[in-house]
């Protein structure tokens, strides 16, 4: 059910973002009528300074080329006879029918590159970078030359007033210092100053909100990673988010350039490139962290998927790192290759996520949706950067935002599911633990001085002196019938239930259940065992009268002894048991046999007798028995019978009646 809710919510969010985007763009469109793009009809004077251009115009010399903006001059350069696009030239456009005295504005999302100067009616009104350095005769193009940087790339906005006739002659000097493409490469918007200003600001606000969102996402994910180092997918998502944020802040509408006006264009282009190589690697890693590769083979036996992936990573990362190290003049030439690799990555991820979707793996829908979005966004962006006519508005920020949101939802869902599953597993485990714990000899392990049962190992032992009760019961049918196994078990089981609390009451515990008896240990005091034995005897008297053992009489035989014992764990690593190894146990067993032979319920050894201070005995009476030679013992044993003084008297009275 929760899945449905969250999917519904996801759709709602996407929808609302879409609506806001649509409403923002619809506002732009409405205003679009009042401003226009200056597309066709630009004249291009290659390798002419503005002064030369003005002279040529005044002499009515036709331009070298007539071109449509957005325009890259690489083709024209070849026809012109030059080889490198790193040159300069002037573009000219004449606007007429403008209202005199009204403020107009020119706007380009990305200033023409890499440096430019705008002249309107032969008067310079705005300049980006330093385009004039190239016009100097002794100018040498030096790729390693950074400071001072002549290039600048920021959103361009300038206001002007047309002349009294309502015409404005726009001449743009463009100098390309390092980029692989040159020219007036972005759409030029012209309109009334207010409208253009608003359009500019709206674009800025939209881009910056997206950047803010991505920066936060990056921060959050890196924080999550810092908290839990095992979850590297958070690290990669954080990295990707930051790379995306930087990309949106630098590519196209360079809002980073507004925040940091001194940002050098050569560095800007490297930041811009960051997204192309860092993001694919990160995203592919995220995918394979969520769905660990089963190392499927591709085509050949030896060509494992993993190798293919690492091969791609190595190529991309090495190109990316090179692009950071090399001057922008060289590194921007990697872009087409990196874009090709990006397409391979997209295909890789899309194929993988579709196959996951078909296999109906968990979270595959999230994955598929997000990658589908980013792939479409990426493709649109590539089309946009190659031909601005087909898709005029860059939509990538929107797609990226959606992608990141879906990824966050997915990671949150995964974490949440793990959390819930763990809680459920813990519940089951603790139930299981409870049932296991009943078989664990807790008191015994406590005697072994182990803080935690987890630390108990096979062969752990401890030397200890304590009292042992060795007990058996004889169950006799009052009608002299043979006791069936069922009856035997039921009565014995009830007997154990009755006796266990008594033993516990006197700080003892049952170490072993024997066939028809038990072995109990009393680590604290001798008297405890004696008292427990007496109470067992009393309890059994009541027990004999109870419903459970109708027609049956049970008689407990309790042999009590004290001595040194070695207790420890024996068995195998995965089937352990506790045990007591000592002659004391054997002696106790012999004493119990004596009980049966001479029909005394409780008999203690001399070892105990000596240790019980007489003044503490109270109502307990200890009667010495004849010296008995116990089998297997060289020395004879002096034994004592235990009974209550008072009760004994009462018993006698009863018998007397």
């Amino acid at each position: 059910m929760t899945r449905h809710y969250s999917t519904g919510f996801l759709i709602f969010i996407l929808f609302s973002i879409f609506i806001s985007q649509a409403s923002a763009s619809s506002k732009i469109n409405k205003k679009n009528k009042s401003f226009e793009t200056l597309g066709s009809g630009w004249e291009l004077y290659l390798e002419k300074s503005p002064e030369q251009t003005f002279n040529l115009i005044d002499n009515n010399t036709p331009a070298d080329f007539t071109v449509t903006v957005p325009h890259e001059w690489n083709l024209e350069i070849k026809r012109f006879g030059a080889t490198s696009p790193n040159t300069y030239g002037c573009y000219r456009y004449v606007c007429s029918n403008l209202e005199p005295g009204t403020k107009y504005a020119l706007h380009m999302k990305e200033s023409p590159g890499t440096a430019s100067a705008f002249y309107i009616n032969r008067k310079i009104i705005i300049q980006t970078g330093n385009p004039f350095a190239m016009l100097e005769k002794d100018f040498q193009l030096d790729p390693w030359h950074y400071s001072p940087s002549n290039s600048q790339s920021i959103p361009l906005y300038c206001e002007f007033e047309p002349d009294s006739k309502g015409t404005a002659e726009i001449v743009v000097l463009v100098s390309n210092y390092y980029y692989r493409k040159g020219g007036l490469w972005d759409t030029v918007y012209l309109g009334k100053a207010d409208d253009i200003w608003r359009y500019n600001i709206l674009t800025l606000v939209f881009y910056c909100i997206v950047i803010g969102s991505l920066v936060f996402t990056g921060l959050l994910n890196l924080f999550q990673f810092a908290l839990n180092k095992k979850r590297t997918e958070y690290f990669f998502l954080g990295l990707a988010s930051f790379a995306f944020a930087v990309r949106i802040g630098t590519a196209g509408y360079c809002s980073l350039g507004i925040l940091l006006p001194s940002l050098c264009a050569e560095i800007k282009i490297k930041l811009e490139l960051l997204a192309i190589w860092l993001v694919p690697v990160s995203i592919l890693q995220i995918v394979f962290l969520i769905y660990p590769s089963n190392n499927r083979t591709v085509v050949f036996k030896f060509l494992k998927e993993k190798y293919l992936r690492y091969f791609l990573h190595i190529i991309t990362l090495s190109m990316g790192l090179l692009s950071l190290v090399l001057p922008a003049y060289y590194s921007n030439k990697f872009v087409p290759y990196l874009q090709d690799i990006l397409i391979i990555y997209s295909l890789y991820v899309i194929i993988f996520s579709i196959s996951n979707l078909i296999k109906r793996k968990r979270y595959s829908l999230y994955n598929f949706l997000s990658f589908f979005t980013i792939a479409i966004g990426g493709i649109i962006d590539i089309i946009h950067s190659n031909s601005k006519e087909t898709i005029p508005i860059p939509t990538l920020p929107f797609f990226i935002l959606v992608f990141v949101i879906i990824q966050i939802i997915m990671l949150a869902a995964i974490q949440n599911d793990i959390y819930k599953e763990t809680i459920k597993a813990s519940d089951d485990l603790s139930k299981l633990n409870e049932s296991y714990l009943r078989f664990v000899p807790k008191e015994f392990l406590r005697l072994l001085n182990k803080e935690s049962i987890i630390k108990t190992k096979l062969g752990d032992y401890s030397n200890i002196e304590m009292t042992i009760i060795f007990s058996k019961v004889s169950i006799v049918n009052t009608n002299s019938k043979e006791v069936s196994l069922d009856e035997n078990f039921n009565i014995f089981s009830e007997y154990l239930k009755t006796v266990s609390p008594v033993i516990k009451k006197y700080d003892g515990f049952v170490s072993k259940f024997l066939s028809g008896g038990f072995m109990a240990l009393f680590p604290n005091s001798n008297l405890d065992a004696v008292r427990a034995a007496l109470e067992i005897k009393d309890t059994i008297r009541k027990f004999n009268e109870s419903e459970v053992c109708k027609n049956h009489t049970i008689t407990p035989w309790l042999g009590i002894h004290f001595g040194k014992m070695i207790i420890g764990t024996i068995g195998e690593e995965n089937r352990m048991d506790d045990t007591v190894i000592s002659d004391t146990v054997n002696t106790a067993a012999r004493i119990e046999t004596v009980c049966e032979q001479i029909h005394k319920n409780i008999i203690i050894s001399e070892a105990i007798y000596k240790r019980i201070p007489q003044e503490k005995l109270g109502k307990i009476q200890l009667t010495p028995l004849d010296v008995i030679y116990v089998k297997g013992k060289e020395k004879p044993l002096q034994l004592y019978e235990v009974h209550r003084k008072k009760q004994n008297a009462e018993n006698l009275k009863e018998e007397g009646r």
Binding site: I211, G212, L227, A412, T422, N433, I566, I570
Partner: protein
Amino acid sequence: MKKALSILLSLFFISSSLFSAVYRIENPETLSKNSLNIITDWDFYWGKFIKPESNLSEKELNNIPHVTVQVPSDWNKYPFPDEIKAISKTGKGSGTYKLQLTNLKPEQSYAFPVYDLGYTAFEIYADKELIYRSGKPNEDWTQTQAEQHFDKAVFTADKNGTTIITIFISNDFYRKGGLRGSFMLFEEKAYSHFHTKQFCSYSIFAGILLMITVYCILNAFLKKNKVNLYLACLVLAIFSRIVSYTFPILKTLFPAIPFTTMLRIEYLSVFFIPSFITLYINELNKAIFKHIPASVLAFPSLIFLLLNFVLPINLANRMVPYMQAYMFTVIGLCSILFAIRIFKDHDFVSIVAIFSFMVLAIGGIGDILLIHHFTFLNGMHPITPAFVAFSIMQILLVAFIQNRNYTHTLELNDYLVQTNKAYYRFVPKEFLELLSKKDITEVTLGEYKISKAAILSADIRNFTSTSEKLAPIQVFDLLNTYLKRIAPLIRKYNGIIEKYLGDGIIAIFPNSAESALNCAVEMQEQMIELRDEFASRGMPRIKIGIGVHYGNIVIGTGGNTERMAEISLSKDIGIAVKTESFTKRCMRPILATPVAVHIAEIEARQNGRKLEFTTESIPLNSIAKIQKRTSGSAKKSVILSIKSDRIEETL
């Protein structure tokens, strides 16, 4: 005192000159890069719109109530005669401000932001030209049409570098009136740069807050907890403040929003913040609001919220100071309570939380100072970055707490798995299998099952006396090495170790005597090897005796609910043990009751096999009387010794 003096002085100057208020810009060059916040004395004329082109005589001017005041300021407290003060102290009224700026760059365009310059409608003239109009101000202030635009005013200095700024303002509902906003002068280009930069940073802030909100709502949905929900509402309130106050991005996105609606949106944040901050903190640390329930603190803001939408704007506006007082009281209270908690808890959560509140408090104090026209930090509004820092810290805090819970659960689970493994070693698994229980949780006390089975009892000869000569660690090493070798054998023959009794083992082989006997043979066979192994390690060459019997047994669980154990009960078990004890007397490695061998023979015949061993009868008479008596239940008079060429003849 100073003010009164300046008023007296200005009164003196007014009588001599039409434009007494003059502001000389000291460094006009700096305006191309930085803004200049002009805080100076302006002329103010009450209730009259003195147009720049009008040539009023000194006498006429003197008839208009006028003072010289420092701007930015509210006219509520201007020193006027009492009958004017009665009006002006409500904020309502109209009037003209005048200032002459000198030492500007000649012919240079200058710009200044006008968003909240004057309340609530105003016109700005530079020299004689109308350069900006916001709404429709009127000398009769009840006719004011309030409006607000997020815009700038631009003027060009004359040849001498001077400009007279005339601003006409009227206000009919706002609780404070006059030229209230900072007069920030830029060169036009510098303004454009500054403004775009502001847009950039505010949008990034807005983006961050928006994403935090989205993230919180998502979390609230996924984890179904209130912390995230309250935090989402809190951040949303902060977000609404940032987009509507001082730098209203909202106004840029939707220029059609009316002035009053913008005000209400702005107030929304003030109404929301205290309640959600309280509820959020309460969720974060339940111990904080032990004495004052959080809902009690949060409740008034809901009333304020309702009033904000219901009341007319002028009343809603007048509520704001109370609301602000309430907000800062709540924030302050929360900070103090949190600070107290720190001394009690010392945990990371409280420290981060108190730090974030400190940031918020500093931002809030800065904001209040700005409202009351103390300028610092170049006129920046510290509340915006403070809000964003606060929100980020909160979200990181929530993430931290969630992560802590998450890892805690995982650790707990790890611990459970470990204890589970540890406990499991003590669970008699095969035994429970005999009870036909698949799941151990189903096992209850007192369950039992009666079945026919072969019982094998094995014991180490003279173990007690042997063990006395060894160190305890050697005893356990010896025993465990022995068991490690024997136990797999018993499993191999589908037997179950019922119990370890010191050095002895009792094993049960359900429904098969043959396998029990075969197992016994192989056990003795293995013992030959084991003895050599022990000998090589300098340990005693231990020998075992094995007794096998076949009969009915009952197995089940016994003890009490806390300490359960497997128990088996049968006289036949006793017989097996007894049979084993005969091995010592007879000096034979394996003894079996005739019944066991007989059953084994039948089993072998059914499966078309021959027994892998031979037997030899030993009359029981040859064994001492005491055994005869105790083993009376076994009425057979003979016992069989199992022989095989693989094992030693005698024990």
